[in-house]
């Protein structure tokens, strides 16, 4: 499959629409990552409906440099053998690819929290999904306004 940049896709879409008088629908690459994120969310949730709660997602409101955006993900949990956060999936919606990172925690983590630096290509929402050992899935999202894009 040819890899079109967003610009090329939009230009192509525009040209096609102009020539065939068709509405420009879903040709823009913009929707590709969102669709990928939706697919990954579905897979990760494995049938459970993601619910709000337990996740504390720290991201700057405005990122001056999209190439280095500090992010902390923290999920409230006793982190015992009986009840702990097993996996955390971090997704972008307007990067070249949806997956940012996938974290695995264990009771020996003590705390289901991690800090990293990520790349955001443009202003977008970052989505965090956290799955407990019993299958419960939590979801949280935060919008980051990116001044200078840092290609993901």
């Amino acid at each position: 499959m040819a890899n079109f940049t967003r610009r090329e896709s939009l230009t192509l879409a525009g040209a096609l629409a102009a020539s065939a008088a068709l509405p420009v629908v879903a040709l823009a690459d913009m929707t590709g990552t969102k669709a990928e994120a939706a697919e990954l969310t579905k897979k990760f949730a494995a049938g459970k409906l993601p619910i709000k709660g337990s996740i504390n997602l720290t991201l700057p409101e405005i990122a001056e440099n999209g190439g280095i955006v500090p992010m902390t993900v923290s999920v409230g949990s006793p982190m015992t053998e009986a009840s702990h956060v097993a996996e955390v999936l971090i997704l972008a919606e307007a990067n070249p690819y949806a997956t940012i990172a996938k974290l695995t925690f264990t009771p020996m983590s003590g705390k289901a929290e991690a800090t990293m630096r990520i790349r955001l290509a443009e202003t977008q929402k970052v989505t965090v999904l956290a799955k407990l050992n019993d299958g419960t899935v939590f979801i949280e999202q935060k919008l980051v306004k990116v001044t200078t894009g840092g290609c993901g």
Binding site: G67, I68, V69, M79, A92, N95, P96, Y97, T99, I100, A101, K102, L103, T104, F105, T106, P107, M108, S109, G110, K111, E113, A114, T115, M116, R117, I118, R119, L120, G150, C151, G152
Partner: protein, 108 residues
């Protein structure tokens, strides 16, 4: 490629205390979309996996994608009940694994 892993964690910990571990490696995390001076694409080359084990048991793991910044900094937590060795490993797309270790002893 020398990742030069830097690790910060307490040398002495209280049994059952939750403490932070900070890690940093040098790596360009090439996302495969950058062009060099000639205009050709620099191929993707990232650290795609980071693992932390304590005395052989998994503590924390991070699968990284191209959206992780250059020179990956990963900070996380651990809670252990005995003295021992933390083993860290970073895996590059090309299969190379860089490892580092740090020991902890128990207070009192």
């Amino acid at each position: 490629m020398d990742l030069n892993p830097r690790i910060k964690l307490p040398a002495e910990i209280q049994k059952g205390e939750v403490f932070v571990i900070k890690t940093l490696v040098t790596h360009p995390m090439e996302n495969g979309r950058r062009k060099d001076a000639d205009g050709s694409l620099i191929p993707r080359k990232i650290i795609n996996l980071f693992t932390c084990k304590f005395n052989g048991q998994p503590v924390f793991e991070a699968k990284l994608d191209t959206a992780v910044s250059t020179n990956p900094y990963i900070e996380f937590y651990a809670k252990v009940a005995e003295a021992g060795t933390f083993a860290f490993a970073w895996t590059d797309d090309d299969g190379t694994v860089t490892m580092a270790e740090q020991k902890v002893t128990l207070k009192g």
